[in-house]
Structures are given as C-alpha cells and as structure tokens.
C-alpha cells in the first residue's frame, strides 16, 4: 500500500459523501432537518439506473435521477412546511418510501439484462506505478462545490437569506424574507446534490442493487454535524470519513499482536470514530438556531 493509493482511494470514496453532505447543508441551513438524504440518494441511484439502462444515454439517466431526487425533496418540503410534520418523522418516512419505491421500480421496470449502465464521460489519468485514476464530473463538482458554497453563503443575497431563515424564520419574515420560498429553493438544491450523489454511486458500480447507498446519507449528515454546518469543515469531515474507509480497505487482513483482526472490525471503525467524534467534539459547531422550527 502506498500513500498515493490511499489518497486516490480517499478522493474516490469521499465524492458521494461530499455531494450529499452539501445537499444536507443547503437544507439544514434553511432550518429543515434532513434525515432524508439517504432516501433521496437511493431514489436517484435507482432512477438513474433504470433510465440510463433503458435509454442507453447517461445524460438522460442522470437527469432523471436528479429529477427524482428533486421530486422527493419537494415532497419533503411539502411535509415539513405545509403539513408541519416533525422533521425527523418526515425524513425517515421519505427514506422508507424511497427504499420501497426503489426496490419496486427497479423490480418492475428495469431492464436487467443490459449489463452495466452507461455513465458520464470521464478522464483517466495514468499515474504510472500508482495505477490509473478516473476523474469524473462528479469528482470535480465534489471538490469545487464546497468552496462555491462557502462564497455563496458569504457573498450572495440568497446565501444571506438562507442563513437568516435557518437561524430565525420569524424575524427573517419580518424583514421581508419569505421563509417558505427560501426553504423550497434550499430543498430543491438538496435534491440536485443528493441526486448527483446517488447517480455517482450507481455509476461507480454499474448497476442498481437494493439499499445500495448503504447508509452514506447518514454518514454525510454526521459529517455535516461534525463540520458545524459550515461548507469547508463539512468537506474536511467527509474527507476524514473517506480516509478511514480507504485505510480500512488497505488494513484488512493485517495482524495485531499475532492475532488476525477480523475485517469487520476495520469496517466498523469509521462508524465508531463518528460516535466518538460526536461524543467529544460536539459544541464546537453551532447548529442553525431555527433547525426544525416551523
């Protein structure tokens, strides 16, 4: 194992986390607790696979996947803002809905004989001894967007209003800002980003399988919390998780004090670290004050 392999693997693993976590950032900064990241990613992954598989066109596939995630996100807006359903409840029911719907849709409509689905064009870099590294559009987005999000919040009117609504929707309303509209836009953005994350996950594998997002939405949310709801620290937290995962893949099969460590122990490591990080680091980042408020 070389440092370069680990680093490349980290970047590769981190991309869906970053996209999803930024999606969570948009929604939670506007005050909507978003446990539904997982479901939106899953829905996008499934739709992308079905549409890309049947049309043979990667762009249409990704477009459909993102569209599905946006639809689910708008449902989320409807439930939390118009029906004032508890944010955690609506997020979890969206996940449940997505789990069922993705299994159903894929089972009913996917063309399963078509092999790997078409994916967006990529650029392959030959790194000599370290192997090859594939740069995709998603990867570029994942590494550009955190900085873009940072300037967006600091430098634009929409960013300021997003921040204000997430902190105190009532006061923002008195200043002529419309919280419902701000949140609608924020959740649509969440849809786009989680949609991309889902499409990326299914593109990496080549075909859809049940529950293939495998809890990445929750990890992304944990990264968002550890990152104090700020784009750059959140990005760093995602990289941290990915690094653990990359190292873990490399460390499997190693021995400690003469005993073989089961691979599951390494696999559990990132989750354990999250728990410990939540236990230790909480309080460093301040949550948006209006989180979960009507």
């Amino acid at each position: 194992m070389t440092l370069v392999t680990v680093l490349l693997s980290t970047i590769f693993v981190a991309a869906p986390y970053i996209l999803a976590a930024l999606g969570g950032l948009a929604s939670e900064r506007s005050g909507v607790i978003n446990l539904g990241l997982e479901g939106k990613m899953l829905m996008s992954a499934c739709t992308t696979a079905i549409v890309a598989g049947s049309t043979g066109n990667a762009y249409i596939g990704v477009g459909a996947g993102v569209g599905a995630a946006i639809l689910l996100s708008l449902l989320h807006w409807l439930l939390t803002q118009k029906f004032s359903i508890d944010h955690v409840v609506s997020g979890m029911s969206i996940n449940l809905l997505a789990m069922g719907a993705s299994n159903f849709l894929y089972g009913a409509f996917a063309n399963r004989d078509s092999g790997s689905i078409p994916v967006l064009p990529t650029l392959t870099l030959d790194l000599g001894s370290a192997g090859k590294f594939t740069v995709s559009l998603y990867l570029l987005l994942a590494f550009i967007l955190p900085w873009a999000a940072f300037s967006y919040i600091k430098r634009t009117r929409a960013g300021l209003r997003l921040f204000a609504v997430g902190n105190d929707p009532d006061k923002a309303r008195l200043m002529g800002v419309r919280p419902l509209r701000v949140r609608l836009v924020a959740l649509a953005v969440t849809g786009v980003l989680t949609g991309l994350a889902g499409a990326l996950i299914v593109s990496n594998v080549g075909r859809f399988s049940d529950n293939m997002t495998a809890g990445r939405g929750y990890i992304a949310l944990a990264a968002l919390i550890l990152g104090g709801w700020k784009p750059i620290p959140t990005f760093a937290a995602c990289i941290g998780f990915a690094l653990f995962e990359a190292v873990q893949i490399q460390l499997q099969g190693t021995e400690l004090l003469g005993a073989k460590i089961p691979s599951e122990a390494w696999q559990a490591l990132p989750y354990l670290v999250t728990i410990i990080a939540l236990a230790c680091l909480w309080g460093k980042g301040r949550a948006p004050q209006g989180l979960g408020k009507p």
């Binding site: 118009k82 508890d86 029911s93 929750y218 599951e264 122990a265 696999q267 559990a268 939540l278």
Partner: protein, 334 residues
C-alpha cells in the same frame, strides 16, 4: 377546513400512487389486495405466520415507542435487536435448558441496554443527535456480530456464518399449538409489554415525568424533572426492550443467530411506533398491520409485484398518520 382538504388530498394522492404502482405491474390492484389478505389472514396457518411476523415488530415497536414518548428517535433498535439476539444465542447455547432460555433473555436485555447507553449519554450530556449515533451503532453492531458469528460463535459444521441451533428445551415454548394454529409465548410477552407501557405512561408519576420530558424538556426541567437523567434512562430502557425483542427472535423463532438476523426490524418498528398514535395500545394494531404486509408481500411477489410495494404502503401510511396527528389549530395572539 383548508387543512382538512389538504390532508385529504395528501391521503388520496398516496392512495392513487399506490393504485397506479400496482396497476403498472399488470396486476389488478383489487386482486393484489385480495391476495395480500388471503396470504396473511386467509387461513389459521396464515394467521399464525402473520402473528409470528408481528411479534418481533410489536416488541421492537414498544422499544421505539418508549423512546419516542421521551422525544427520542431510537433508530438504534436495529442494532439493539441484533446484539440482543447474538447475546441470547451465545448464552442459550452454553447453558441448554430452561436456565439457558431465561439467561438468554436476561443477557439479551442487558446487551440491548448497553448498546443504547452511548447514544443516550451522548444525547443527554453532549447534545449529539441520537438518530446519527444510533445509526452508527447499528452499523457497528452488524459488523461486530458478524465477526463473532464468523469466528468464535460459528457452528463449525455449517458453511454459512451462523451459530448452531439451540436445543428444544432452551426454546421459548408455544403458548398454543394445535392443528394449524401456532402461537408463541413471545406474542404474549409483546402484548403484555404494550399494555404495561400504556398503563405506566398514563398512571404513574415516572411515566408522567417521561412524557413531560418528551413533550417539552424545558418545562420539564422547570418542573423539577431531571430531563437528562430521564432521557438517559428512557434510552437504556428502550434498548433493553429492543434487546429483548432480539433474544425472543432467537429463543422463540430462529433458534440460532446468524449475520443479518434483524432484516430491518428496527426501521419497521419505527413505522409501527409512528402509526401507533398517542397511546401505546395503538402498537397492537400497528404491529399487526406490519405483520400482514410482511407476510402478505410474499404472496404479492408470487404475483410479480416487487416486495418494495410494502415499503411504499408503509411510507404513505406513516405520512398520512403524521399529517393527521400534527393537524393543529394555531392560536394567534396579538
């Protein structure tokens, strides 16, 4: 009025989507519902199987419900169930007989409680959201028990990662077993738990205090209630019940532990608890409904409808129930 309209619209919309989904597979929705009901409630055997499906959901539902009343979302029942099942199997295998069964349950309860403890502590004293920590703990539980069942607990005579089966004397006995009817004592435990919780929440001071913390933690603190301690205790109790559900799954139904034994019971239990409504009694029909869907979905798969349809049904039901429950007239003050 407008709101009632909107909620009706939401429910009708959900129903239409379901209808269209089923119809899109080429199956008549009416036939699908008939098959679903026939498969789950059509015969004594089917009813027995449905109740068997409902039992772990009911007990795990009680676990989630208890936490929910404290304002906590214990998504970690999945993990507590798994460690409970694993602990119960390990103990029951070592001590065959009634003692093993009894100790298996105790160890399952303790394992579940211990598994919930970090989440409770982090929530109460560090402010970390319990949903995230419990989901992380679920993953850790899955990996940990898989490692155990692949290593020290593995039955060497088998290919797959599973423990050996517990002896007949160690099994949790049937409550009623005659002809096509088989009803396990586990169901009785679940029903008693739901009734006891219902009574406890309503009639005891500690239940009152727990509900106060769930409804308004600040007001509870002002009322002299140690919210943090209550949260901690509720989470641990919830985990203990989750562990009990896992141990009963092993002792009554599966008779062994294997990787992936939970198959999403934790998430389904959240659905049961959300559907139950304000009173714990509601857990009984909630669990039954889930049992019907779980059992009936096998029937639907035979018809060619993917099993994900039940997830859609549940999602729609939970959303509709939540929308109706949270309907509230806002009092506007000048």
């Amino acid at each position: 009025m407008k709101r009632t309209f909107a909620i009706t619209g939401l429910c009708v919309g959900g129903f239409v989507i379901l209808w269209l989904a089923i119809a899109s597979t080429g199956v008549s929705p009416v036939a699908a519902v008939q098959d679903l009901l026939r498969g789950s409630l059509g015969s004594p055997k089917a009813i027995s199987d449905t109740l068997r499906e409902a039992t772990p959901l009911l007990i795990a539902g009680v676990a989630v419900f208890l936490a929910l009343k404290t304002g906590l979302f214990n998504i970690g029942v999945e993990g507590q169930f798994t460690v409970g099942a694993c602990a119960a199997a390990a103990v029951a295998l070592r001590f065959p007989g009634a003692l093993g069964m009894f100790m298996g349950m105790i160890f399952g309860i303790v394992a579940g409680a211990l598994w919930a403890l970090p989440a409770g502590w982090i929530k109460a004293y560090r402010g970390g959201h319990e949903v995230i920590t419990t989901i992380m703990l679920n993953n850790v539980a899955a990996f940990l028990t898989t490692a155990l069942v692949a290593g020290p607990l593995k039955d060497p005579s088998q290919e797959s990662t599973t423990t050996a089966s517990i002896t007949d004397a160690t099994k949790l006995s049937h409550l009623y077993n005659a002809g096509p009817w088989t009803i396990n004592s586990g169901l009785l435990i679940g029903v008693l738990l739901a009734l006891a919780l219902s009574w406890w929440l309503k009639k005891t001071v500690s239940g009152y205090e727990l509900r106060a913390v769930g409804a308004n933690p600040t007001a509870a603190a002002t009322a002299g209630i140690d919210s943090k301690k209550v949260m901690m205790r509720a989470m641990i109790a919830s985990g203990a019940i989750g562990g009990l559900a896992g141990s009963i799954q092993v002792l009554a139904f599966q008779h062994r532990f294997y990787a992936g034994i939970s198959s999403g019971y934790g998430f389904d239990a959240l659905g049961v608890a959300l559907l139950a409504g304000p009173a714990a009694i509601g857990l009984l029909p909630g669990a039954l409904l889930f049992g019907v869907l779980a059992k009936g979905s096998t029937q639907l798969q035979i018809l060619g409808i993917p099993k994900g349809i039940t997830g859609i049904v549940l999602g729609v039901l939970i959303i509709a129930a939540a929308a109706i429950r949270y309907r509230r007239n806002k009092v506007v003050e000048s």
